[in-house]
């Protein structure tokens, strides 16, 4: 019985014609920040004028400014227009199934503490099919940055009502206007226990970058609600927040206390187009840190033992 038909075998690193010989390590001091050209991959398939272009460009800028190296950039997405993101970034990326980008990213984050995971998605992914995961990832405070490019409409499937579509929005599934009360993503995030909640809009690039940097520096689940216009199916949706279109871009009031959960919740209820900036930032231990602590406690009891010896101790109690 103890003959394994498939014993452990070391595997080739890469397949086929490509050599798997390792290459020498490269000291960080010898590396230059990545340029936009080096970090961009496929040309985005978004419609001309889509707000997502701006978010992508600012992600590149973030990578350049924060001197992130190719291999450390980890981009995860679900399904939707905005979720095509990983293909446009020249780095390790995963394009997962609809609504489940957060649990996928959680698996990466919890098993690979050396990586900072960025997740990009849309309002359907985050608040409709993936609504459950949004709440629980926030509650568990799993370390990652989640940018939702909210366009208030399903774009990839060509104009159906989304969970953030305002009442009265005419879509192919609500030809007489949407009936259902839209989700307020900020309130949702705060109520779920997210430890970093910010709001920005694609028409203000400097602000987007500022929020991304703050989110990345946050030790925990950092959530950015980024208005990102769908020029094809909901043009003009965010004009009220764009000074160039006659709207107003109000920052979160200076006197707002970002650690005040109820204050943040009230602020999230500000009448349309609301305000922009960090609504809530109140660190508490991440799941990553809590699990690491449990591991440390358990490891200290078996220090010096090889894995097979630890297992042998368990088996000794089953004799």
């Amino acid at each position: 019985m103890s003959e394994l038909k498939f014993p452990f075998t070391p595997l080739p690193r890469t397949g086929g014609t490509i050599t798997s010989d390792p290459v020498p390590p490269l000291a960080d001091s010898d590396r230059k920040p990545l340029t936009k050209k080096e970090i961009s991959a496929d040309h985005p398939t978004w419609c001309p004028g889509c707000g997502d272009f701006s978010v992508l460009a600012l992600y590149f800028k973030l990578i350049e400014r924060r001197k992130m190296w190719h291999e450390k950039v980890t981009t995860v997405a679900g399904i939707g227009c905005s979720s095509r993101f990983p293909y446009f970034v020249q780095a390790h990326g995963a394009h997962f199934i609809h609504g489940r980008a957060l649990p996928f990213a959680s698996g990466v984050s919890l098993s690979r503490p050396d990586l900072h995971v960025f997740v990009f998605g849309g309002d359907g992914d985050a608040f409709s099919i993936g609504g459950n995961h949004f709440s629980h990832t926030a509650r568990k405070n799993i370390k990652m940055t989640y940018v939702v490019m909210d366009n208030f409409v399903y774009g990839l499937t060509k104009k159906q009502t989304s969970p953030t579509s305002p009442i009265g929005f005419k879509s192919k599934t609500d030809i007489w206007g949407s009936l259902d009360r839209p989700i307020n993503p900020l309130k949702q995030a705060i109520a779920a226990g997210a430890t970093f909640v910010a709001r920005t809009t694609h028409t203000n690039p400097n602000h987007v970058l500022e929020m991304m940097e703050a989110a990345m520096d946050h030790d925990g689940f950092s959530y950015i609600e980024c208005l990102s216009e769908c020029v094809e199916f909901y043009p003009g949706a965010f004009d009220a927040s764009n000074p160039r279109k006659g709207g107003k871009f109000d920052l979160v009031p200076k006197e707002h206390d970002v650690t005040d959960e109820y204050g943040a919740y009230r602020l999230a209820d500000t009448a349309w187009p609301g305000c922009f900036g960090i609504f809530y930032r109140n660190p508490r231990p991440t799941k990553n840190a809590n699990e690491a602590k449990i591991i440390e406690e358990h490891r200290s009891k078996v220090s010096g033992l090889a894995d097979w010896e630890i297992l042998q101790k368990s088996f000794a109690r089953m004799k």
């Binding site: 019985m1 452990f8 293909y87 390790h92 088996f315």
Partner: protein
């Protein structure tokens, strides 16, 4: 008790000692009476005495209470099933007595709690009745009202007397089980046990003694299938898992949650089944094969993500502890009705590997093989175990842990270039690099559920869809060629071949022994590698006039069980027929024998 040899050897002349090879003891009571504990002690004792042991239990799916049984078969030779008929029934209540008397062989012993059971006159002739006031004697021994507490240990003492069990070893087991913070608990247990052991069984003259078992190589460990599977995953190097509670899978996640931190690993309880598989896939992409698992409806919920793992060719282990279905079905009963969803569940063509362990020991090794196949072929692998294996206890020789424990940590050292979905790969298998690995060419891969090119970027090219579909399928063909041809138990040619998979192994093999003892040319094969199938099966089938696929699922619209249908589709052989049942219990040897007889005699293959 089979192979009974009368050997009056007891010195006191009062009770005769009879040497036996094996005994089947059925303990019947309510689920909160601690009858599993008695069975567990007997099983562990057998393991320490180098005996073979197998248990079988039923538990009600109610939250608390309800009738429950635990059957232990202890033997000095091969024990492959929990036994069709009991040599002894230990009945705590009238309902346990009346409900299980039929499981006792004629002339067998019924040991009952006379405080709760009134024997039926018509059964007194057929079975040897021994009444002991178990409840009141227990209260007498440890005092207080005691409300049923401790009577299981008292009964264990009775059994130890009847079967001349090693009191010293049992006392040590009691110490290990109850020796905790509160010393009175252990003291009470020992008092109960001693009271039971010292109880004078006036009307039971015989005492039984197991023959010495042959010495095996190495010490035996005693555990159930869920434990063996979970420890196998740890030995295989799995350090991350994610799951959601569901019976009977939950034990595995509880064990991994408790044990993994010792190895630097983590198990996460997720918000739902979909999150569980998604998180495990994310961790697998992180570089080390991760595990998720479930039972029943939970497996259905995971199928979309499983399809992604098939498309993206991501290594992953998914445990399915099968239970009665569909839907909520029979959560605490056994069935093998997830074969179809395991092999074929999902939209699109999504090849994956399915393994089915044959018993508790095999759970341990199957878990390691599953991880190694997942890595080698870069594929999701499902392990199809079932409620029967999950909850039964077996003793097996402790694995050579130093040898089987493996390190599957990812290698993050830089590479010059990389294409995960390389169509020119000589073995045709995808190789992923974990994120964090520098690729000197500056070309980085994406893993995706969209049809993709060799770097993982999306494509609508029909040519690539054809090529990539073939790539995902061909690696399973390669695996199939690497699989061992299953060994035939019994003659290589003859009248009847029984084909089983997974847990059918034990009772099916005993059925073959039964047939052969009567002179019939019957053989069996049991498949562990269920998808893809190994080669050589058609050659085996050729040697037999009848081929019966024995499995625990419904005969379906066309009259074959799920695996039977797969074999018929694969081999187009009309002599392949099915023998199936869905009563929620494991096969009895007699059931298989009778059903096969009837089928060969031309009767419709019906239950």
């Amino acid at each position: 008790m089979s192979a009974v040899a009368e050997e009056p050897s007891s010195a006191d002349g009062q009770s005769k000692l009879t040497k036996i090879n094996e005994a089947v003891i059925r303990i019947a009571g309510n689920s909160q009476d601690g009858i599993q504990a008695i069975g567990g002690f007997l099983a562990r004792l057998a393991g320490r005495s180098e005996q073979e042991v197998m248990t079988f239990m039923t538990i009600p799916s109610t939250i608390s209470g309800g009738p429950s049984i635990f059957q232990v078969r202890i033997g000095s030779g091969d024990v492959l099933s929990a036994g069709d008929e009991a040599d002894m029934l230990l009945a705590f209540y009238q309902h346990s007595y009346e409900g299980h008397i039929n499981s006792v062989k004629l002339g067998g012993i019924v040991l009952y709690d006379s405080d709760h059971v009134t024997p039926k006159p018509e059964w007194l002739e057929r079975y040897r009745h021994v009444g002991v006031a178990i409840s009141s004697k227990t209260v007498e021994a440890i005092g207080g009202t005691g409300r049923d507490k401790g009577k299981n240990i008292f009964a264990l003492g009775l059994l130890a007397r009847i079967y001349d069990l090693d009191v010293e070893k049992i006392t040590r087991l009691l110490g290990e089980r109850f020796g905790g913070k509160d010393a009175t608990i252990l003291q009470n247990a020992v008092t109960c046990f001693n009271a039971g052991h010292a109880h004078q069984l006036q009307d039971l003259l015989k005492t039984y003694q197991f023959r010495h078992a042959e010495v095996r190589g190495g010490q035996q460990v005693v555990m159930n299938g869920n434990e063996a599977l979970a420890f196998g995953l740890i030995a295989a190097g799995v350090r991350f898992g994610a799951g959601y509670p569901i019976t009977p899978w939950s034990d595995i996640m509880e064990l991994l949650r408790r044990e993994l931190p010792k190895y630097g690993g983590t198990f996460v309880q997720c918000e739902d089944e979909i999150a569980s598989i998604s998180m495990a896939i994310g961790a697998s992409w992180g570089g080390r094969v991760a595990v998720t698992g479930s039972s029943g409806p939970g497996i259905s919920l995971k199928t979309e993500a499983l399809g992604w793992a098939s498309m993206a060719e991501m290594p992953l282990v998914i445990v399915d502890v099968q239970r009665g279905g569909p839907s909520t079905g029979m959560p605490t009963n056994v069935e093998q009705s997830d074969l179809n969803i395991a092999c074929f569940g999902g939209h699109g063509d999504s090849p994956r590997v399915v393994l089915a362990p044959s018993g508790v020991e095999d759970c341990f090794y199957t878990a390691i093989e599953a991880v190694n196949i997942a890595r080698k072929y870069s594929t999701p692998v499902l392990i199809l175990t079932d409620q029967g294996i999950a909850s039964r206890i077996e003793a097996f020789v402790e694995p050579d842990l130093r040898k089987v424990c493996q390190d599957i940590s990812p290698d993050l050292s830089p590479v010059p270039d990389h294409k995960p979905y390389d169509l020119a790969a000589p073995d045709g298998v995808t190789r992923h690099l974990a994120p964090g690995t520098r690729i000197a060419s500056g070309k980085y891969p994406v893993v995706t559920g969209l049809e993709h090119d060799e770097l993982g970027h999306p494509t609508g090219s029909p040519r690539l869809h054809v090529a990539m579909t073939a790539k995902r399928r061909n690696k399973l063909r390669k695996l199939s060629a690497d699989l061992p041809v299953p060994a035939v138990y019994g003659p290589a040619a003859g009248q009847i071949l029984l084909v089983g998979w997974g847990s059918t192994y034990g009772p099916m093999r005993e059925a073959v022994d039964k047939f052969r003892s009567l002179g019939d040319a019957v053989a069996c094969i049991n498949l562990k590698y269920v998808n893809p199938l190994p080669g050589g099966l058609d050659e085996i089938f050729k040697g037999f006039r009848h081929v019966f696929v024995v499995e625990l699922n419904d005969e379906g619209v066309y009259g074959y069980g799920q695996f039977g249908a797969v074999l018929r589709a694969r081999y187009c052989d009309p002599k392949i027929r099915g023998i199936t049942k869905v009563d929620g219990l494991t096969w009895k040897v007699k059931e298989i024998v009778d059903r096969v007889r009837a089928a060969v005699a031309g009767a419709p293959v019906k239950a």
